[in-house]
Every structure is written in C-alpha cells, then in structure tokens.
C-alpha cells in the first residue's frame, strides 16, 4: 500500500517537474502583463505569416507521410520483401539523425554550390532558402511516425479478417476500406498526431535550409527563437504557447473523430465475467 502510494507520488511528481511545471510557467509568463500584449504579438504580420508557413508545411508533410507510412507498413508487415530490415532501418533513420545534420545534408545537395542546386536554379527552382527545401526537411524529420505506429497494429490485426472478407466476395478495395483501415485506425490516428506535432515543431533542419527570412520562410518555431533572441519575451512566449495549443488541438480533434467513428467494444475487446461461455 505504502509502496503503491510512493510509486504514484514519484511518477506524478516527476511528470509535474518535467512536463507540467514548464508548461504552467510558460502560460503564467505569457499572460504576465495581461491578454492585450499577447493578442498584439500573435496578430502581428510576421507572426501570422510564420503561422501560415508552419501550417503549410503540416498540410504537405502530414498527408504525404500518412500515405507513405501506411503503404510502407503494409510492405514491411505483409509482403516482407528481401531487404525488409534495410527498409525498416531507413524509415527509422530520421529518429537517429540529428535534424541539423539533415539540414546540412540538404544544403550540400541543393545549395548554390551544391551537387544539384545549380542545375535546379537554372530551371528556376530554388530549394534552399525557399519552400521546397523546408518541405523536404519537414517531410524527412516526420517520416517514421505513421509507419512506426501502423506496423505493429497491422501485425496484431493479422490477415484472417481480410481473408474472411475475400471468401465473402469482397474485392481488394472493399477489403482495404471496410476491414483493414478500420482495424488500423488508431495506429494511423496516433501516427498523424505525432507527425503533425513533429512537423509543427521542427526547428534544426528547417532553420538551416530556410535561411529564416522573416515574413518569407520563417516558421513558427523560428519566429519564437527570433523573438526570444530579440528580447521580445512576450512575443516568444505567446508564439510558443500557440505552438503547444495547436499540437494539443490536433490530438483532441483526432481522438474525437475516432471516438465518433468507434463503436463500443470494437478496439478494446473486453471479455466480461463468464464471457467465454454461453
């Protein structure tokens, strides 16, 4: 009993110290001089533009990585082609590589003096210090989440329900939409939440390839850093809080959507007392 209470206190205390404390402090500091400065900071043209850039990156990276992640999980779990381990390792690579390293790699490849940069510039395409580079960086750093969440769920779901659907006359598409996707729905949801959070929050890689041009290639995290460096603490705190709230909003909205689609007992089979017997 004492041990259990002790464990609980330790766990909650640790959470409070590491997660809750900083967030509460951030909120408190943001509104230290009232709501008006916060609104002013967030409605400034630079802040609005930074938010737009960030949302644009999310709008590209999330769908791309969701489709890729689901397909990739299918290939890894269902088809197991030769070199599966290599594909799995490559998908996980963005976890292992520091975003700054990635930013530099993109710079070497696409920069003014890079391998591909001059060729692309000739055709009027700028990658570095422009949107394409930022999209590439964001897609890369948020790549592993959907595949990583979906693969184990797919493994767990197995193939029998799909085979049953086939014997009942369902086509490949019907099986995918009616059986497989509903089965992996939660995996996809959490994958999307994590991808969104990562794409919104990415700093290191984007900082290098964007050039951080205010009002052009500045994302919300870069805006926070710039405000902070300029001693505009209210602006920095307000934008940081907005970032946090956006991530929470995505989590809440997706969970809600899923709850609505979910029916009782569908994803968390519970066998009540005597449930195995008539």
């Amino acid at each position: 009993m004492i041990a259990r209470v002790g464990l609980r206190v330790a766990a909650l205390g640790y959470l409070a110290l590491v997660v809750l404390g900083p967030v509460v402090l951030l909120v408190a500091r943001t509104f230290a001089s009232g709501v008006a400065p916060v609104v002013a900071a967030l409605t400034s043209p630079d802040a609005v533009h930074a938010l737009q850039v960030s949302l644009m990156l999310v709008a590209v990276a999330v769908p791309v990585n969701t489709v890729f992640g689901v397909v990739c999980a299918f290939v890894l779990v269902r088809y197991r082609p030769p070199g599966t381990w290599l594909i799995a390792a490559l998908v996980d690579l963005p976890f292992a590589v520091s975003p700054v390293v990635l930013g530099l790699a993109l710079f070497i490849l696409y920069g003014r003096t890079g391998w591909l940069g001059p060729l692309l510039t000739e055709h009027g395409i700028d990658v570095v210090f422009a949107v394409p580079g930022m999209v590439l960086a964001t897609v890369f750093v948020s790549l592993p989440f959907v595949a990583g969440e979906v693969a184990p769920v797919l493994e767990e779901a197995g193939v029998e329900a799909e085979q049953a659907a086939a014997t009942l006359g369902a086509s490949g598409w019907q099986t995918l939409w009616r059986i497989t996707l509903p089965a992996i729905r939660w995996g996809v949801t959490y994958g999307i939440v994590l991808t969104t959070a990562r794409a919104l929050g990415e700093f290191g890689a984007v900082a290098i390839v964007s050039g951080n041009l205010v009002g052009q290639t500045q994302t919300l995290p870069l805006f926070v850093e710039e405000r902070f460096s300029d001693f505009d603490l209210t602006g920095a705190y307000a934008a940081a809080l907005l970032l946090g709230l956006l991530a929470v909003a995505v989590l809440v909205v997706l969970t809600r959507l899923n709850r609505r689609a979910e029916r009782p007992g569908s994803d968390h089979p519970t066998t009540g007392p005597g449930g195995e017997h008539e």
């Binding site: 049953a164 009942l168 009616r178 994803d267 968390h268 017997h277």
Partner: protein, 318 residues
C-alpha cells in the same frame, strides 16, 4: 457441389505440407478431414478455399477447375478456427457483409440477416459487437456470415477447437442438424476423432501430408487401412505384433486355451465396459482387453490372475 482435389502438393520452404493428395467429397455430404495437428488437413482446406495455391495438382468444385481462382470466385463459405470476426461491426453487419459488398438492395439484406440470425439462434444479439459475445455465439455468428452468401460449399477449420467440451458437443449436434436442414456440401477440419466420427458421413484421415484412408466412420473403425488409422481412431492394443480393437480380444480367465499367456495387472470397471490390462511377456505395454459389463468377469478377475488371450477376427496389420 462435388469437390475434388487431385494430386495436390503444397510445400512451405522445405516442409511438405501436402504430398500428392487426392480426395473426393460427394455433393451435399458432410465430410471430416481428420488427423493430428501439422498433418496437412488445414492446408488442404485452405487450398480448396483458394487461400493457398498448390504447387501442383487440381481443385474442382462442381466439376469446374478452380485451382487458380480467387477465393471470392469459388462460391465458398469459410469459417476460420479463430472465427476472424469483423470486430468493428455489429453481429448484423458481420452477417450482412457478403451481401453489402455485392451491393444487394437494403430490404433484401435486412430480411436475409434476420432469417440467418434466427437460423443460428442469435435472436436479440443483432446489435451486439463480437467482443460482447461468448465463444459459441461468435462461432455461430461467423457461420451465419458464411451462409449469408449462399455458398455452394461450406468449409470449417477446427470450428469448435477453441470451445470447451460441453459447448462443443452441443454445437456439434446443432451443426449436424443444420447440415440436414440446408444440405450444402460441408467439409470440417478436426483433430478430434470422436468429433469426426459423430459429425461426418465421410471421414478422410490425413497424416504427414498424405491421405491415410477415406471412408465412412464404420469403415474406418472396422477396416482400418493402416496401423496409423487403427491407433488414431478408437481404442487399440498391440498383441503379438498386430493391432487389435480391445473388444476383439478373447480373454480366457481359466488359462485353458492355447492363447498368449499373461498376468492381469489391473481391472477397471467403466460405465460401458470393463477394461482389463494384461501383462504379456515380451510386450512393452500391457495388452488392453474390453469385456462386456456383467458381474461374472469382475469377480473372476483380479490382479495377478494368469489368463490367456486370443485375438479374434480382423487385425490392423503390423
């Protein structure tokens, strides 16, 4: 529909799951594929369903070669060992699945579903989810789901394997009656010889990827084609290198005849017969004899008594 498999061979890597297997399942029969686990019976069922493609050989349903046909083109209903329910759908939606993917009119679907729910006795459970059902109810739900599309052939893989003994016996009788009612050619895979003998008109014994014997339950019991069938189906005992049914051995309690001499080890009175274990020299295991249950044998036989054993009638070879 008559189902035939001819010379079917299926390998998984170096493991030969089916080795030149041929079977013929008569129209409207209830046939059991019986054998030990890993013997190939489930693989054969999956080949018939199109869930596995054989390396060689042919599968015909109703005379048409369907060896390479997709499962959905075979007109089969398949019931999986672990049911494979659609967990995110209600009982009614599960049963309706085969009809909704065929885009049948709503009215037809709902009347057919109602009919099937009654047939499999799931009345009042239409809006439940599979997780809210017992094992036996889940089993009947997937059976109704398979029947909804009016298959020409019903294939069941260890349908009662995951249920406890009492429910098994009940569902077995029910399936037998259901089969009489709907008369669709049915194949049941089972490792339980009692289940196979009680359920099926025809039993195909499969072991190590080959057909050991096919026939009616009586044929298999009375005229086993190999020691394997002899020992796998019903009780059997080894006397002088031949297998016999324990009730086919005469026991002479006075030791007068010239049968094999032995000593009674123990006598067990069972509800249906008396079992006598007899130690015979040069036999590793005791020879088992079943005697009819009449007080006489019991009083005369006691451990240590010298008796003589004579095998009567057929034996199952060596």
């Amino acid at each position: 529909m008559t189902i035939t498999a001819t010379g079917v061979t299926k390998r998984f890597g170096s493991f030969v799951a089916l080795d030149d297997v041929s079977i013929e399942v008569p129209d409207r029969s209830l046939t059991a594929l019986l054998g030990p686990s890993g013997g190939g019976k489930s693989t054969l069922l999956r080949v018939l369903a199109g869930l596995e493609t054989p390396d060689s050989g042919q599968v015909r349903i109703g005379g048409v070669d369907l060896t390479r046909a997709h499962p959905r083109e075979r007109g089969i209903g398949f019931v999986f060992q672990h049911y494979a329910p659609f967990t995110h759908m209600t009982v009614a939606e599960n049963i309706a699945f085969g009809l909704t993917v065929r885009r049948r009119p709503k009215a037809e679907v709902s009347s057919r579903v109602a009919q099937l729910i009654e047939l499999v006795r799931l009345d009042g459970l239409a809006q439940r989810y599979p997780a809210q059902l017992s094992g036996g109810q889940r089993q009947r739900m997937v059976l109704a789901r398979a029947l909804a599309v009016q298959p020409r052939v019903l294939l069941l893989d260890e349908p009662f394997g995951a249920l406890d003994a009492a429910i098994r016996a009940e569902l077995r009788d029910w399936l037998r009656r259901l089969h009489e009612q709907i008369a669709v050619t049915t194949i049941v895979v089972t490792h339980d010889q009692e289940e196979a003998l009680e359920l099926a008109d025809q039993v195909v014994v499969i072991n190590q990827g080959r057909v050991e014997q096919a026939g009616t339950p009586t044929e298999l019991y009375d005229r086993p084609a190999s020691p394997f069938v002899m020992t796998f189906i019903g009780a059997s005992t080894l006397l002088h290198g031949s297998w016999h049914r324990p009730h086919d051995i005469d026991l002479d309690a006075d030791g007068q005849t010239d049968g094999a001499a032995g000593t009674v080890r123990r006598v067990i009175a069972l509800p249906t017969h008396i079992r006598v274990d007899v130690d015979v020299p040069e036999h590793t295991d005791a020879v088992v004899v079943h005697l009819p249950r009449d007080g006489r044998a019991l009083s005369a036989l006691a451990p240590g008594r010298r008796v003589r054993l004579t095998a009567r009638g057929r034996s199952g070879g060596t």
